[in-house]
């Protein structure tokens, strides 16, 4: 009897040993140290990734996606600790709080595991300049977005601009307006002034008084900041009699922008570049359908998370592996184009760490978002 039990156990173990590698070979393990709480919670892509992963698994595409996810609480140190745990648990792709102070050390850590860091939403140029060989961003860097915006603003008739910069959020808030200015001047426009601000400003009176004192008034004010700051700035400028444009970067792209501005006339003079148009587009449909399925999706970043997953799964199929990060990365960089969940296509072939994808510029008509332009700009001020 004892020897029969021993034989059964041995057979079971042998079956497990045979089954495990085959299962693991088809499972793409992704570790997300997602900022579900804390200051960066609005920028997480976690629920969109989970929604798309469940759909991929249900569609039985030959690759199963396993998402390991915990709250990083927006803390860079905790993000790294979680990434370490995921890498030890055989994750081949890790991502976390989408800022360089988390992602650069994370990528260095992942190198030793033959894993890669793929960010759905990071736009900071630092990520592409730090010599990382296992990093991908799903969206264009800030200077590319700023250049696309500059061409839309110029096309709208603006010829002079005031740049508002801040050191509060690194190159995103300090350099993006400068890149906008560079692209704007290349088109024939002129930067007529520069003003400082701090992210979190709710009273722009000193800056408004400065702009008010300018003669002639600038055609546009460019700023890279967040909602509600930019909404308050637009309101206060209008209240002071300013009739020009208030334009800026992806920080404007928050669902509460319209209600916070609260005035269609002010909105009609606002414009911003973003990563995917959300209204009446595949990205918007994805979000709505995830919501209908019970996922607590945030908005654009969830849609970008789904794009990231789509690229990874297709890259893993091309590479013929779900466990070798270097091969998956090489396959992603070699492929001509990827079809995105948010519509359109991207390619990493030319830029390697960031994709060539069109940059939507959004404006407003009758209080509703409209797509003003959707191009990849000719002039790139900074990125290679």
């Amino acid at each position: 009897m004892q020897s029969r039990n021993w034989l059964l156990s041995a057979a079971a173990l042998a079956l497990c040993a045979l089954a495990t590698p085959a299962g693991a070979e088809n499972t793409l393990v992704i570790g997300l140290a997602a900022p579900l709480t804390g200051s960066y919670a609005p920028y997480n892509e976690a629920r969109g990734v989970q929604c798309e992963a469940d759909r991929i698994n249900k569609a039985n595409e030959g690759i199963t996606v396993k998402v390991l996810m915990e709250d990083s609480r927006s803390d860079p140190q905790l993000t790294l600790s979680l990434a370490q745990k995921y890498l030890d648990d055989k994750a081949v792709v890790v991502h976390g709080t989408p800022f360089p102070d988390s992602l650069i050390p994370m990528a260095k850590m992942a190198e030793g595991y033959n894993a890669l860091v793929y960010s759905a939403q990071i736009t900071q140029v630092e990520m592409h300049e730090s010599g990382l060989t296992n990093f991908l961003a799903n969206v264009v860097p800030d200077d590319v977005g700023a250049s696309a915006l500059a061409s839309a603003v110029y096309a709208k008739g603006a010829r002079s601009v005031v740049l508002m910069t801040s050191d509060s959020a690194g190159s995103w808030s300090a350099k993006t307006p400068e890149w906008f200015g560079e692209a704007f001047e290349k088109l024939g426009g002129k930067v007529v002034g520069r003003l400082n601000h701090t992210i979190g400003t709710s009273d722009w009176s000193p800056q408004v008084a400065n702009i008010q004192a300018m003669s002639p008034q600038p055609d546009a004010v460019d700023i890279c900041s967040v909602v509600p700051d930019v909404a308050i700035l637009a309101r206060q400028l209008t209240a002071a009699g300013y009739k020009g444009l208030v334009v800026g970067c992806d920080g404007f792209d928050d669902p509460s922008l319209e209600a916070t501005v609260g005035d269609n006339d002010v909105l009609s003079r606002m414009m911003f570049n973003t990563h995917a148009a959300m209204v009446g587009t595949p990205a918007g449909e994805f979000i709505e359908s995830c919501k209908a399925d019970g996922y607590k999706v945030n908005g654009i970043f969830d849609a970008l998370g789904a794009d990231m997953l789509r690229v990874l799964v297709d890259g893993a199929k091309d590479a013929g592996t779900t466990t070798d990060g270097a091969k998956i990365l090489a396959a992603i960089q070699a492929r001509d184009t990827f079809d995105l969940v948010t519509g359109g296509k991207i390619s990493f072939k030319k830029r390697l760490t960031w994709p060539e994808r069109n940059v939507p510029v959004i404006g407003f008509a009758d209080g509703k978002r409209v797509l003003v332009q959707n191009i990849f700009p000719d002039f790139i001020p900074h990125s290679k």
Binding site: S202, S205, P206, Q212, V227, A239, S256
Partner: protein, 299 residues
């Protein structure tokens, strides 16, 4: 000249908001020796009350404003009863850590149960009307802020100098044990201090939401930081000091924004804090704070 006058008015408006916030922090510190970093979350409670009322279809400003202030007062009283009373006799660092804990807890509760993203609250947008006085541009909100801060400061002075409870609070600020020995109930004095602090935070919440037009879970962080700096400048524990510190901070911030060459913008915070350090080197107790015996730490 108009530009200078405009910026002076802007500085006054900034300063009066900071004064209002700093008074709320100072009144609790003066009684308990507690730097209540959860003061910002009392503002957040007031702000989210407005949002919840609008969602419930009760969006009239006449209803929203008093209920937001009331919610802030109740929130402050609840903080005192649940979080700060149990650590009243613990070292001051325990109280400060408790305040941080409460702050994180409340922020994340709003984040998890409402949203991490900003939510629009435009019900008080009417207060952003611009009033022109000759070439000078003033927002109705700025005028109201200035007026309310003045009234509140005067009201607080009257309360502290003319009412029995106010006198008891001032006495408690000097020697809490003695106040208890003469039969005044400690809980009542401290709860009143928190209640007043909640009232001030509620009023501040109304102004902040009117200007921002939106709310978010960490919206109380920056205001409480400014209030803290204002209290340090004015002298922690001194109510007139908090008001003066707030006004001075407003003038320093606007002055630097206007006068500093734009290419040096990154130095703004460094210059603000260098100026504050300069004030503290010459008056370590703050502009209006009391001298504290330092024993053998004295130079």
């Amino acid at each position: 000249m108009d530009f200078v006058l405009q910026q002076i008015l802007n500085a006054l408006a900034f300063g009066s908001e900071y004064a209002l916030l700093a008074l709320g922090l100072a009144i609790v510190f003066s009684i308990m020796g507690l730097v209540n970093f959860a003061h910002g979350e009392i503002i957040t409670i007031g702000a989210y009350t407005m949002y919840i009322m609008i969602v419930m279809g009760l969006g009239s400003p006449l209803l929203v404003i008093p209920l937001a202030v009331l919610a802030a007062v109740l929130g402050a009283l609840a903080f005192e009863r649940v979080a700060f009373r149990p650590v009243r006799y613990a070292p001051t660092s325990t109280g400060m850590l408790t305040a941080f804990g409460v702050s994180i807890l409340v922020q994340n509760a709003f984040l998890l149960f409402i949203s991490a993203r900003p939510r629009a609250v435009s019900v008080l947008g009417g207060l952003n009307v611009t009033v022109w006085v000759g070439p000078l541009r003033l927002q109705l909100l700025q005028i109201l802020e200035l007026g309310v801060s003045l009234v509140v400061t005067l009201g607080l002075i009257l309360f502290l100098t003319r009412s029995t409870l106010g006198l008891a609070m001032r006495a408690a600020a000097r020697d809490f044990a003695m106040v208890r020995l003469v039969g005044i109930r400690a809980n009542r004095v401290i709860a009143t201090a928190f209640g007043i602090s909640g009232l001030l935070a509620g009023i501040a919440a109304v102004f902040i939401v009117a200007r921002r037009g939106s709310i978010e879970p960490d919206m109380g962080f920056m205001p409480v930081l400014k209030a803290f700096v204002a209290c340090v400048i004015g002298g922690f524990g001194s109510l007139p000091g908090a008001a003066v510190g707030g006004l001075l901070l407003g003038f320093i911030e606007v002055g630097i924004l206007v006068l500093l060459p734009q290419q040096w913008g990154g130095l703004t915070d460094a210059i603000v804090f260098a100026l504050i350090a300069l004030i503290l080197v010459t008056r370590p107790q703050g502009l209006m704070g009391r001298n504290v015996e330092l024993g053998d730490k004295e130079r």
